[in-house]
């Protein structure tokens, strides 16, 4: 899975492409860990068609990391399938998640 990272004056956007399953989720985790500072952390899920529980955990970990860095956090461009998983687990109420 490829993850594209862009940085606009402290606003870091991570854009994973492909399936966020058990095998590929650790890559997202590594990308998040590599961030040392940020004002805002955005996960762009426009190319994420599929997310399993492993992927969900990585999103939660990213949220924690953002908090630790005092950065705003959001997940954007979430598709219907992935959104239903967020809603199912009530995550959409705990953090900013948008279509």
């Amino acid at each position: 899975m490829t993850i594209t990272k862009t940085n606009e004056n402290g606003k870091i956007t991570l854009r994973p492409e492909g399936w966020l399953d058990t095998a590929s989720s650790p890559e997202l985790g590594a990308a998040v860990d590599a961030i040392e500072a940020a004002d805002e952390l955005v996960l762009d899920f426009a190319q994420v068609e599929y997310m399993a529980s492993a992927g969900l955990r990585q999103v939660v970990a990213a949220h924690k990391k953002a908090k630790a860095l005092n950065a705003a956090f959001s997940v954007i461009h979430v598709g219907a399938e992935v959104m239903s998983i967020f809603r199912l687990t009530g995550i959409d109420k705990k953090m900013e998640i948008r279509e």
């Binding site: 399953d21 058990t22 095998a23 599929y50 997310m51 399993a52 239903s84 009530g90």
Partner: protein
């Protein structure tokens, strides 16, 4: 029963006798007291006569006013008779009815006999006295004597004789007896009478009781004993009842004898009939189970299709048949047939037809040829002209092509997606009547999820209590609603409706159905390694299902698979650890995981989505997701293996 009748009867009669006895008592008392009073009256009257005579003789007649000498005479003779005779007192009094006065002349009494007798101070005094009618009648001379119960002196009876003195004054010589004495006398006499009456009464009652016992109790008891014995053993023990006597009991005895004779005969007849029936029933039962043995099982689960079938005969054995037979790796024979009539002869013919169809199919023939040959064989040996309708088809699971031919049978239906269609071509001649009939053959394609439905007219011609038919319309309607019902078995689904329709009406014809569902199934053996999931993913994505459905299935499969890898085998999985993944779909998708790890039921302790708290728990997230995106989850532990099955219904894309 018998005892209370005699007792009841005796009691009633005794009551009557008691009443009579009471009346007799009262009557006899009156008579006795009358007699005694009479006797006493005569006696005292005689005494008062003597009393008066004595005094008369002694003095030269009686006159008033009395002097003491006269008084002495009166009292002397008064004392005399009091002591010698059974009287209590005697006195003389001068009476004046014109002036209503009375003058006591002399008084004698027995010691302490009567209370309240006048004292001697009263003697010689003229007192007022109101005479009663009877007293007046006597004193006037209308009566010869006078007897009364004295009111002057308590509890006594007076008898008086009237005498006129020389000077024309009326004098009464009165003699009295205390009532006590009288009553005593009455009582003594009455006692004897009463005792006699009582003894007679008791004797009569006893005699009555024994008579009734003999003429009612014994005969009744005999009859009821005979009846009880008869009921207990079902036949008569001992001789017949005694019919002599000519009375009502004799009549009952006679009727009873005749009735038991008839019952005996009747029972013998029924027993014979029952034995005959039992024998026949057993033979039919045996025939029924033999027939069941001809037909294949009601369920077959092959990799590429699922077959469900049923046949319910109207009687113990039926004339319908269904059949399926895998001919080789690709081809399967499917048949349904209906022999005319029901019962024993139809089922024999059915067995023959079944075998013929099978054999010709196994020889490699196509449906039309199978029918042609079967028809010839049947019509060659059919003296009773039994005919058969049949539908024969061969399904090729590799190509999906279904080839078929029809001999006068109900045309089957195919459920495709949300719609149903009826197989059109071919309604050729029945089997068994005419030789060398030609049958046309046709084919159609069946896709994954399609259901082929075969049935006999026992379904559409099923009747309810008002003899209305189930009908083709209701059948089609019911087929159309099958998908939405998410029921697993079409045959069961149709049967339910037929049963609901017929209610309590008797089944009029054999009901037979067969449903073939085309499905896709793959099975893969996996090692408990998360990297193996890629193979699961490829299997699912290779199926011809909508993308969003595939994604849901992948998520569910991934979560469960990862769970099994993590928990079922521990840190180092043993070498024989295996997970079997089965993926099956027709009108629904089945994902089945079978692992030989530690027994574990994942359906236990699944948190509901509302209760899930990601800050608190991380575990259980996978199960939550997997079970939420699927419609049904079943866990079973068989032969030491965990088997988890998840089912997701396929919702048709709206067209």
């Amino acid at each position: 029963m018998k005892r209370t009748i005699s007792r009841k009867l005796t009691l009633r009669v005794a009551l009557l006798l008691l009443l009579t006895l009471a009346l007799l008592f009262v009557g006899s008392y009156h008579i006795v007291s009358g007699m005694v009073e009479d006797e006493m009256g005569h006696y005292t009257m005689a005494i008062s006569g003597i009393y008066a005579d004595m005094i008369n003789q002694e003095s030269s007649g009686m006159h008033i006013p009395i002097d003491s000498g006269f008084r002495e005479v009166i009292e002397f003779y008064g004392d005399y008779i009091c002591s010698w005779y059974r009287i209590d007192y005697a006195y003389m009094a001068a009476v004046d009815t014109e002036h209503n006065t009375l003058e006591l002349l002399g008084m004698s009494q027995k010691e302490g006999a009567v209370e309240e007798l006048p004292t001697s101070s009263e003697i010689g005094k003229v007192t007022e006295y109101v005479f009663s009618e009877e007293e007046l009648a006597f004193l006037r001379g209308e009566e010869l004597y006078f007897v009364s119960e004295s009111t002057r002196f308590a509890s006594s009876m007076d008898t008086a004789i009237s005498v006129t003195d020389d000077f024309g004054n009326q004098i009464a010589a009165v003699v009295g007896v205390s009532l006590e004495k009288i009553n005593q006398s009455i009582w003594e006499k009455f006692r004897i009478v009463a005792l006699i009456l009582l003894l007679v009464f008791v004797a009569i009652t006893l005699a009555l009781y024994f008579i009734i016992r003999k003429s009612v109790f014994r005969p009744a008891r005999k009859i009821s004993d005979a009846m009880t014995d008869f009921i207990r053993d079902g036949k008569r023990v001992g001789e017949k009842l005694d019919e002599s006597g000519g009375d009502e009991f004799a009549m009952i005895a006679g009727a009873f004898n005749r009735m038991t004779d008839e019952i005996d005969d009747y029972v013998k007849n029924i027993q014979t009939l029952n034995r005959e029936q039992d024998r026949q029933k057993t033979e039919l039962d045996i025939a029924g189970s033999i027939q069941k043995g001809f037909l294949p099982a009601e369920k077959l689960s092959a990799p590429d299709y699922e077959i469900r079938a049923m046949m319910t005969p109207a009687k113990d054995i039926g004339g319908d048949l269904y059949d399926y037979l895998p001919l080789d790796e690709e081809r399967t024979l499917i048949t349904i047939a209906d022999v005319s009539g029901k019962g024993l002869s139809a089922s024999m013919y059915m067995a023959v037809t079944l075998m013929l169809l099978r054999q010709y199919a196994l020889l490699g023939m196509e449906p039309a040829e199978i029918l042609r040959n079967t028809n010839n064989a049947l019509s060659d040996s059919n003296p009773r002209m039994l005919f058969v309708t049949a539908f024969v088809g061969i399904y090729n699971s590799r190509s999906g092509v279904f080839t078929y031919a029809n001999a006068g049978h109900n045309l089957p239906y195919i459920l495709q997606g949300r719609s149903i269609r009826r197989i059109e071509d071919g309604k050729n001649a029945l089997l068994g009547i005419f030789r060398d009939e030609e049958y046309t053959q046709a084919e159609t394609r069946l896709r994954t999820g399609d259901v082929l439905y075969l049935y006999t007219d026992g379904v559409n011609e099923a009747t309810d209590e008002s003899d209305a038919f189930y009908g083709m319309e209701r059948l089609e309607q019911r087929l159309k609603t099958f998908r939405a019902s998410h029921e697993e078995s079409l045959t069961e689904y149709m049967q339910q409706d037929v049963r609901a329709f017929t209610g309590s009406a008797e089944q009029s014809d054999d009901i037979t159905m067969l449903a073939l569902t085309v499905k896709h199934r793959t099975q893969t053996e996996l090692a408990p390694d998360p990297r193996e999931f890629e193979r699961v993913k490829q299997t699912i994505l290779a199926s011809a299902l909508p993308r969003s459905l595939q994604l849901d299935l992948c998520v569910a499969a991934e979560e469960i698979f990862i769970n099994i890898c993590s928990y079922a085998f521990g840190e180092t999985p043993p070498s024989e650890a295996s997970i079997r993944f089965t993926f099956e779909h027709y009108d629904r998708v089945l994902i089945r995981f079978e692992d030989n790890g530690t027994a574990y039921d994942p359906t236990e302790c699944v948190i509901a989505p509302e209760d899930y708290d990601i800050d608190g728990q991380i575990g259980g997230l996978g199960k939550l997701i997997a079970f939420s995106v699927t419609d049904e989850v079943h866990y079973a532990c068989e032969n030491g293996k965990n088997i988890l099955t998840m089912i997701k219904y396929i919702q048709e894309e709206p067209s």
